[in-house]
């Protein structure tokens, strides 16, 4: 039982962080807080990927004569790409929020819905 918790601590951290981010997306009403939750959620997945790339007793993956084992560099490369994707998504989300703020004057989701945000077919 202790081995189950302590031995796999990287998975526990990853799952906890992921659920914190997921909760923030669902439960918070402010649009920016949702974006922050989304970022935490994605960061948890990145942590998971990086944690599986560590090999016990491995050294940095640069060719070195005295090395026996190397860490796995492939997940790092995958996460580079995923981080770029995450940054782009955050940028698009923030741009949308700025336009929403200019149109509605608020970034609280319940206030926007109360203004008929999704039902109004208003062409300006």
């Amino acid at each position: 039982m202790l081995e189950f918790i302590a031995g796999k601590y990287n998975y526990w951290i990853h799952v906890t962080l992921m659920m914190i981010g997921f909760y923030a997306i669902i439960a918070k009403g402010n649009l920016i807080k949702k974006v922050i939750g989304m970022n935490i959620f994605q960061t948890a997945v990145f942590l998971f990927y990086i944690s599986i790339s560590k090999v016990k007793g491995g050294t940095a993956p640069i060719v070195w004569d005295e090395a026996v084992l190397y860490n796995n560099p492939l997940p790092h490369v995958l996460i580079l790409t995923a981080i770029v994707v995450s940054v782009s998504t955050t940028a698009v989300a923030l741009a949308l929020i700025i336009r929403i703020y200019r149109e509605y004057g608020t970034i609280e989701e319940d206030e926007i819905l109360a203004m008929g945000g999704e039902r109004i077919n208003a062409q300006r």
Partner: protein, 154 residues
């Protein structure tokens, strides 16, 4: 939204009107940019690469914008230039790939480029791509910051 440099509230930590902030920024920005180029160039030997170096380069321009004014930064780096730079980096990347096709290999097969033996050509090909990525990422970071920090009546 407050514009850095023009805000006259009592929050003293805004870098706006402070001589110290502007002087330090003027001193640091060339070093930050040099470090950004270093990170781009040494991506294959240590942590770094195109994206990371590009973000550092973009951050140096953002530091300039924060220390001075957004209009001053815009005068130095107009919208047309930053749009062109973002396209240029992607075109460098795609262009190198197409050059590899023209040289007889598959897409992005740098070993076939006529620049010496396969290992050296591979090295130079990766180098070229990283530079392209760095240029685009820096330009895009600057564009995102300028667009989100613009005055609302603009």
């Amino acid at each position: 939204m407050t514009v850095p440099g023009r805000d006259r509230t009592t929050r003293g930590h805004i870098v706006g009107e402070h001589v110290i902030g502007r002087t330090v920024a003027k001193l640091l920005i060339p070093f930050i940019q040099l470090y950004g180029f270093y990170v781009i160039a040494h991506g294959e030997l240590g942590p770094g690469g195109g994206f990371q170096g590009g973000v550092i380069l973009g951050a140096s321009i953002i530091l300039y914008t924060l220390a001075f004014d957004i209009e001053a930064a815009r005068k130095r780096l107009s919208q047309k230039v930053s749009d062109l730079l973002s396209s240029t980096g992607v075109l460098i990347y795609g262009g190198i790939g197409l050059l590899c096709i023209a040289a007889g290999g598959a897409y992005l097969e740098y070993g076939k480029l006529p620049l010496g033996d396969a290992a050296f050509a591979s090295h130079l090909g990766i180098y070229g791509i990283e530079i392209g990525v760095g240029i685009t990422v820096a330009a895009v970071m600057i564009t995102i910051f300028f667009e989100t920090a613009r005055r609302e009546d603009a």
